[in-house]
């Protein structure tokens, strides 16, 4: 699927949108372009403004400033019923006085598109795996089924964009995994652009084409799932998306595209390619992020750090060590082969090292 090639006309453009509620800023100068057919996730902790942003897209709140464009047309002030945008609510908001069929048919009837209504409703019910549930009342089905009804209800009108506000957060883990897979399938089959909200980074990584990581009303980074995980551009993104080790460093030299860092507790300086947007100069402090799975435990020639094992947890294929070091507490997740004996015991002194290619420099 095309992701971000510049030739793609974005279906949805969020242009410097800000929303404040009597002085408190819920969404702060957010700019995002979403390409048709994309699965975009808004990821961030609770209260960071995800729902407020969705509600502005849906038409339930008007931006304090900025514009929202759909296929190039400004729709910031269009009422919800004149936008072609579906919304799956966090609390689902199924109509309690209607059965499953009438809930799903609601959008077609409201838009007076009753031609072929019956077959459309049945098709979408079968798409979400609810054949035979037409006559059930919404109180007589399980949580996962209610979730599917909500999805079917907003899919039946084939909206240009479907917004989903933490649709899976109320479900148990197993059901959640299952519905994640199904949501992806449904998105692929329908080709509808999805904007999905979650505070669960694993969910975001496993489902999204692109992730917008939000904090305190702002988008910290908008990039593909892989990019977001491997090249976090801010401290917050590095820590929020996956686990990571953050070390403090100082720029000692900058030449060409490379930057040389001296990191607290590490015995050799590191030279690595500088990210394009790194503005730090010689003498400035930066942070470096190394994922636990990139940490090696044992002898090495690379820049290394001495650590003391605090605890370890063995999970079959890997061992995860919690360590103490001059650079602070560290996590290392290493492969574990049979015949290797036992993991290092707590109190053991080890050398921690990493391939330079897996180090990300983050402006402090």
């Amino acid at each position: 699927m095309p992701l971000t090639s510049s030739s793609d006309q974005p279906i949805l453009q969020i242009d410097s949108v800000t929303k404040s509620f009597d002085g408190t800023i819920a969404v702060n100068d957010v700019t995002l372009d979403v390409v048709e057919g994309e699965f975009v996730t808004l990821l961030g902790p609770s209260g960071c403004g995800k729902s407020t942003l969705l509600r502005m897209l849906a038409g339930f709140e008007t931006p304090t400033s900025g514009r929202i464009l759909m296929r190039g047309r400004d729709m910031s002030r269009l009422p919800a019923y004149d936008r072609d945008i579906g919304l799956v609510f966090q609390n689902l908001a199924l109509f309690p006085h209607l059965n499953v069929y009438d809930n799903v048919a609601f959008g077609l009837r409201a838009r007076k598109r009753t031609e072929g209504l019956d077959s459309k409703v049945r098709d979408v019910l079968s798409l979400v795996g609810l054949d035979g549930f037409e006559k059930r009342r919404t109180g007589q089905i399980s949580g996962g089924q209610r979730q599917r009804v909500a999805l079917a209800r907003s899919l039946v009108t084939s909206p240009d964009v479907l917004l989903l506000d933490e649709p899976l957060s109320a479900l148990d883990l197993k059901l959640r995994r299952q519905l994640q897979v199904e949501l992806k399938r449904i998105q692929r089959e329908t080709g509808i652009t999805f904007i999905f909200v979650t505070h669960d980074q694993e969910e975001a990584l496993s489902m999204s084409d692109r992730i917008a990581v939000m904090q305190a009303g702002q988008v910290e980074q908008f990039s593909t799932a892989v990019e977001t995980y491997h090249h976090p551009r801010t401290r917050f993104v590095a820590q929020f998306v996956g686990e990571t080790n953050l070390l403090e460093g100082q720029v000692t030299a900058k030449s060409g595209g490379d930057v040389t860092l001296r990191v607290v507790g590490v015995d050799q300086p590191m030279t690595l390619p500088a990210p394009a947007d790194l503005s730090a100069n010689t003498g400035d402090t930066v942070a470096i992020s190394i994922r636990p799975e990139h940490m090696r435990v044992g002898p090495s020639e690379c820049p290394a750090l001495t650590g003391t094992v605090v605890s370890h947890s063995f999970s079959g294929a890997t061992v995860t060590y919690a360590l103490d070091s001059a650079a602070g507490p560290m996590l290392a997740q290493t492969p574990f082969q049979t015949g290797q004996g036992h993991p290092f015991a707590p109190g053991h002194q080890v050398r921690l090292s990493w391939p330079i290619a897996n180090v990300t420099v983050i402006p402090a």
Binding site: A58, N91, A93, P96, A110, R137, G139
Partner: protein
């Protein structure tokens, strides 16, 4: 003390109250039907053979219906506004029930000051020369309906409000995001869900309007009283208890004829809605 005993002790006062009430009701109906120990419909024949009584019954039902209609017309939007109010809702609630702190006589009399021949409105109209002679704004059905709506509106608002508060705003938003314009959302989502409250409000206001005494007495015309007022006068002025009892029974039966079907409808709707699951 066992739980069941405690509960029955608590029920005792209300049971006593109910017993007295039912006894009174039976005596009332009995005294209108039994004359000198035998079943006798004289009083009812007397009532229904007098055209002025039949007209009075008709007027009573008509005024009650109009009062209910206007209370609903004003009460629903008010209740909706309060239910969706983002600020301090308690202040609005206080304003709604505030009139209950003032005696109904005072409230009805307040309208005399405003609507009377030398009242506020007529004073201004004649003084500015808009009209030459005072308009007849009271001592007629208009005055009675206005007064009754004023007195009974809070019941309608509270009845509807209590249901609207249970309807999450997201249901209306869901309707809108599915393309439902406001009128469509109102008709297909809000109204069906609010129906139990609307029916309760209609029942309450209609019943109280049919039995109204003070407001029609103060604001109604001399010639065209309502049934409640008439019963009051039969008892207090003419001491004709059997006749008053017969009139009261007629009033009761006609009121129930309207209210019972509404109650059945409300039961049915509520059962259907609660069946639909968590709102």
């Amino acid at each position: 003390m066992p739980r069941s005993l405690r509960i029955s002790l608590l029920l005792l006062p209300s049971g006593l109250l109910m017993a007295v009430f039912v006894y009174g009701l039976i005596r009332l109906i009995g005294s209108s039907l039994i004359v000198d120990g035998t079943l006798d419909f004289t009083y009812y024949e007397a009532i229904f053979s007098r055209s002025d009584y039949v007209a009075m019954l008709g007027r009573t039902l008509r005024i009650a219906a109009m009062t209910t209609f206007f209370s609903l017309l004003l009460g629903f939007p008010t209740a909706y506004y309060v239910a969706r109010y983002r600020g301090n809702r308690n202040i609005l609630l206080l304003l709604i029930i505030f009139p209950w702190l003032v005696s109904i006589v005072v409230r009805s009399y307040g309208w005399v000051v405003i609507l009377g021949p030398r009242g506020l409105i007529n004073g201004v109209l004649t003084w500015t020369g808009v009209v030459e002679r005072p308009l007849k704004l009271m001592y007629n059905d208009f005055g009675v309906i206005l007064g009754l709506v004023h007195v009974l509106l809070p019941f309608m608002i509270i009845a509807i409000l209590s249901v609207l508060m249970q309807i999450p705003r997201t249901l209306e938003e869901a309707s809108m995001s599915l393309g439902g314009r406001p009128a469509h959302s109102f008709r297909t989502v809000l109204l069906p869900l609010a129906m139990p409250g609307v029916l309760t409000g209609i029942t309450l206001v209609y019943l109280m309007a049919t039995g109204a005494i003070v407001t029609p007495l103060l604001l109604g015309g001399l010639g065209d009283t309502m049934l409640g007022t008439e019963i009051f006068q039969e008892v207090m002025h003419f001491f004709d208890y059997p006749k008053a009892a017969a009139l009261a029974t007629v009033l009761l039966v006609t009121a129930l004829a309207v209210v019972l079907p509404i109650q059945l409808l409300e039961r049915w709707l509520s059962a259907r809605l609660s069946d639909g699951g968590a709102l």
